[in-house]
Symmetry: C2
Subunit: 702 residues, 2 copies
């Protein structure tokens, strides 16, 4: 019964049989077999036929050489009406797909780089001072004067962090995110911690910035206050769509609002200071819904809490370190310079805001931001300058949220490359953006905004911890980096980074301790959970890779697989049969075409009907035995599984193939009326290691 | 390349090759091929080996003869821990599965039959009078006296319907539901209408009875009033579970509460009437939350509305007609007699309630039922007899709900046999009950209870219309039945049924017209929608049957299928390959085992990596060509589909087989990390008519 043709065949033999035209190089070595489209051998008629692509097919598949094609954009058009509709919706909102070759980084000048990478940091001037004041208010309005020394402390911290990060940028000109620096210099768990911290930080950046941006809008237009959450969700939705379209690297879009903010905010501070010096009487006027002063005593703990709230201003430094390769050459130098500019502007804004807030005796309000109050005091509440400051603030805050949409997906794709997060994060979408990461950021930020009612104040305690942990690990990693390299002057560089690591580590501890009950515990729990998930994913992928390793092609493996292929032509094939109809007969025909060892199984709870089916079966299908299993408990899948189990035991070294007829209904909703047994069997069979499930479709014409 | 063994082979040839032991009868005719378990042919080693079931396997599969097995209860035990847990939960709540052979109808005496089939009707005494009074109240409390003539009208209607249905029972001793009678005597659309009417009626019976039963409880225990909806849902849930366990036919469970109700209710009416005759001063006392009298004038329309509300009392007649075969012989006579008993008791209860309500000048209340007020007037509000009446009322109402759980699934299984509803309604569950029908009733009734806040009053307008439409069709069908049969005395019988049809038809019109805006329109829309769905399902199944008809085994069909099987051994097989690993190599081995015409496809968005994979492929898999398709837009499924489309065009007469490696992960949740391409491809390929999808599992060990 063996046809003797089951063993492995090389191209030579294939060529001898005229079944493949095997192209050869000039030196006579075989090239890949050429299947222009393919060759088809019809039944007992040996010989070969070549098919050429029709002009219509060529619109979708372009032949490029032996066995090589290129899929065109036309191939993307789905076949079904539903698929085309969905594709159309995507085209409208996300745009035409881009080819991978179109992926090219726009190189950024320092001015554009500042705009792109500083929006996160600079925008924090809009809310960080306010968060400090809110904490100080717990000890009464007299405590508000401490905002200025706290602002100095944060400016000092910014100087340390930026100095330290300049060295990271020099050392990692291809992008030195905390995850990479920690992985390469500290260890796997440190990289998990840095990655998880950044992940949580990025998501919170979106939530905090959007909430603060909405607050800037509602400060100018108080009647919108009740719609804050909806506005915040709408902004996140727009950012998600915009990023799926791939606006990531268009620096010009970013430059305008960033510089608009920088100039209006700087103008506000300068005019305010000048008018104060000139002795003008400036006051924010009547403030709606002022916060009630608390009755706590002014403890060191309270001051540290206020300081911790303000540290949110520094979270954006990481973006610049990640973005080094996007700068024009010399990349590292330009990025480092831009980082210094940013630190200078940030410190100036921060100190200026704290100073004016103190001078104007500003009290935080529930419905009007501190910045809005300063602008009101400086310009008057109906001045166009007042509105300009609010618009600038809102714009840069929305842009700051965008930093995360640019940052997290890239970081996640790097981690997916290391198999630390699911591989799906490394797939580029239609527009070359890492769509899955973008969607994850958008969804999680929306969840946070709803859960915390789009309140900046409620979100801040969760915010900075993760980022400062990542800072600490990154800079500690840099210390190890310098020690290992021992380049000239490494001691000085290591000392700078060590100072940075120490400062940010202390800040992380302060944030964790003073904000723990306010919400930092949520971040800590999330970071811990993420680390465990990363560890589990990495371990899983490593185990899988080890198991799947095919070995060297020249070892026994090859022979083993070839043997398996040749030996199995008479493998066992099972067809569950519920009645005799065309679909079943077609399935039997298919089954017989793949093996000469086919058995049908009929399950019945009525012996007489089982016998009747057997008689009818033997009229129709003479050469395929049928096994009738009476199932008194009416279960269909279980008896088949028991039978397959027994077969499996009897021939442990072979596959068992179960062939199922499956109806392809004319209308999708008609599916519910069919395929019940097939569905249940498939579910049960798919988890069996040695059982191959074959779906033979039968198209119902109407 | 053709091995010459592809054609059809008969048992003779198979036997010659020693591959099957073909048993023969005494007269030499072949019996079914005997595959004790099966025979396995190993590779090039021809010959046969028989495997016997091991003792452990014999626990699951018992061999009964050549090619015949029986699955035991042990085969039902799922293999996975999750499956076993779910099975355990089912065992606890639903019980051990029962074999089909254990299906035996308990035959019912007239006393038990009355208990089972009359609970629906008799229980309506508990709320129908109240519904009449509620309508009359719209014209002020003076209109309440009209309840007695309306009760007489309903008693007359009951007499007509029961007399008419006695004839149906005699004519259909195997069960004469409205669906069957309408189908056999009127037409398909009439049967749809009857079926849809009954379906809606059955679901509403559950909702109305449960709501009224809960009202009986809360009348006795007013503090439970706020939990009415939850109590109603709990009762429906319990009934669903109980019916899934299969309590359907245990008459004794039903007999006790029904007779308890009959005796307590009768006692209440008798004691009330006697005490009235003795001149006692009876009054229900202070009634909480009385309904405010309306200011409508007492129109004919209002009286008809009140009448229509009371007609809900008759909805249970259908159950008796369906249940004829469950009676002891002579079935039809016993059932007809029982039906008369029921009508007598129902009329007595109905008239007695209306009479006492008038005598006691009872005004409906929002929180205390009319029956509770009567019981209070007769026995005093803290008498044990008062509580006995409430308990009896609640019990029989819950039992009445159960009538639907017994009736609808059986009716649906009959309709499923006619392919008018999905086939799933004809499957018996573990305990032989028609589980799907039971679950559908439970879910829909729960939805109604929540939507209408478990208010009997709100549900009543929806209720009786569907049932009376079914009555009308059933009795009109009987008129046609007698005319066709022309048995002796057929004219008299036809006249009785015609009177019944006319009466119920008029009532249906009255209900539809007077209750239209109150909610009958919902029933009418639902019935119309159900009819369309039934028509669509029946038409679909008919089209499918026609397409699937295999024809006679002696015509060309047979040869055609055999040819197909023999011809296709070299069919085209495609393997999408993303990398070279053990799982892929195993899949290739499997693919080569089913065809010698295998091509691998690799999709890449990076030509260099594609070339590298091709080189590596040719080291590992010399004899299987690989096609590399560059997909610049990074789509994976679409280029493969375009390729398969081209193949499909090139060989329109053959199947194309796509073989996919699929990972079986060690832990179920690890699945999210794998099989992404396979899942997407399967979804896209499964709707193609000529493409067979093969899943080759690869079990990851840890």
């Amino acid at each position: 019964m063996n046809d003797g043709a089951g063993g492995p065949r090389g191209p030579d033999e294939l060529e001898r049989h005229g079944r493949f035209r095997v192209p050869r190089r000039a030196d006579g070595e075989r090239l890949a077999p050429d299947v222009e489209l393919h060759e088809a051998v019809q039944g007992s008629k040996p010989g070969s036929r070549y098919y050429r692509l029709t002009p219509r097919e060529r619109q979708k598949l372009r032949r490029r050489g032996p066995g090589e094609f290129e899929a065109t954009r036309a191939a993307l058009l789905p076949a079904t009406a539903l698929g085309r509709a969905w594709s159309g919706v995507r085209r409208v909102f996300i745009g035409q797909p881009l080819a991978t070759a179109e992926l090219a980084h726009e190189r950024l000048s320092k001015l554009k780089g500042l705009a792109i990478f500083s929006s996160d940091n600079l925008s924090s001037s809009a809310y960080a001072t306010e968060e400090i004041l809110l904490i100080l208010m717990l000890a009464g309005s007299g405590a508000l004067v401490y905002s200025v020394p706290i602002a100095f402390a944060i400016a000092l911290l910014a100087t340390i962090v930026v100095t330290s990060y300049r060295q990271t940028i020099r050392a990692y000109p291809n992008g030195g995110g905390a995850y990479i620096v920690a992985k390469e210099n500290v260890g796997v768990w440190a990289s998990f911690l840095a990655g998880a911290g950044l992940f949580v930080g990025y998501v919170l950046t979106v939530a905090v910035s959007t909430a603060a941006g909405v607050a800037a809008i509602t400060s100018a237009l108080p009647e919108l206050h009740d719609f804050s959450v909806y506005m915040a969700l709408a902004f996140v939705g727009l950012l998600t769509l915009a990023n799926l379209r791939g606006i990531r690297e268009s620096g010009t879009i970013f430059a305008l609002p960033t510089y608009f903010f920088i100039f209006t905010f700087a103008a506000m501070l300068l005019v305010g200071i000048v008018r104060l010096l000139l002795g003008h009487d400036l006051s924010p006027g009547e403030v709606p819904n002022p916060i009630e002063p608390g009755v706590h005593s002014l403890s060191l703990f309270l001051l540290l809490r206020a300081f911790a709230s303000g540290c949110a201003a520094l979270t954006g430094v990481e973006a610049m370190a990640n973005g080094v390769p996007y700068f024009k050459p010399p990349e590292a130098k330009n990025a480092a310079t831009t980082l210094v500019w940013m630190a200078v502007i940030l410190s100036g804004f921060f100190l200026g805001t704290a100073f004016l807030a103190r001078e104007f005796a500003i009290v935080p309000s529930e419905t009007r931001t501190v910045v809005a109050q300063i602008a009101q005091a400086v310009f008057g509440s109906h001045s166009p300058f007042f509105y300009a400051v609010q618009v600038g603030t809102a714009l840069i805050l929305i842009l700051a949220a965008n930093t995360s949409f640019a940052g997290l997906p890239v970081a996640a794709s790097v981690m997916a490359g290391d198999r630390v997060v699911p591989l799906q994060f490394s797939f580029r979408g239609d527009r070359l953006a890492f769509s899955n990461g973008i969607i994850v950021v958008g969804v999680l930020a929306s969840v946070l905004l709803v859960a915390f009612d789009a309140s900046t104040h409620a979100l801040i305690p969760l915010y900075a911890f993760g980022v400062f942990v990542a800072f600490t690990l990154s800079q500690a990693g840099m210390v190890a980096y310098w020690r290992r390299g021992r380049e000239p002057g490494w001691r000085g560089a290591a000392a700078v980074n060590a100072l940075g690591a120490a400062a940010t580590g202390v800040v992380a501890l302060i944030i964790g301790a003073t904000k723990f009950l306010d919400g930092a515990w949520i971040s800590i729990v999330l970071i811990g959970a993420l680390m465990l998930i990363m560890w589990w994913i990495k371990a899983h992928y490593e185990r899988v890779e080890e198991q799947l390793d095919p070995g060297r092609p020249d070892d026994d493996t090859l022979a083993q697989y070839s043997l398996m292929a040749g030996a199995a032509r008479h493998q066992k094939v099972i067809i569950p049969v519920d009645q005799i109809n065309r679909a079943v007969l077609r399935t039997v025909a298919y089954a017989k075409s793949i093996s000469d060892n086919v058995t049908a199984i009929h399950i019945t709870d009525d012996r007489e009907r089982g016998d009747a089916l057997r008689r009818r079966w033997e009229e129709f299908v003479l050469d395929t035995p049928i096994v009738v299993i009476e199932s008194p408990y009416r279960s269909l899948a279980e008896p088949i599984l028991a039978y397959v189990d027994a077969l499996d035991r009897a021939q442990a070294d072979q596959m068992i193939t179960v062939v199922l007829p499956e109806f392809v209904t004319h209308r999708p909703w008609e599916r519910v009326l069919h395929n019940q047994l097939a569905l249940r069997l498939k579910k049960a069979l798919l988890s069996r290691p040695n059982t191959v499930v074959v779906d033979v479709p039968y198209r119902l014409l109407h």
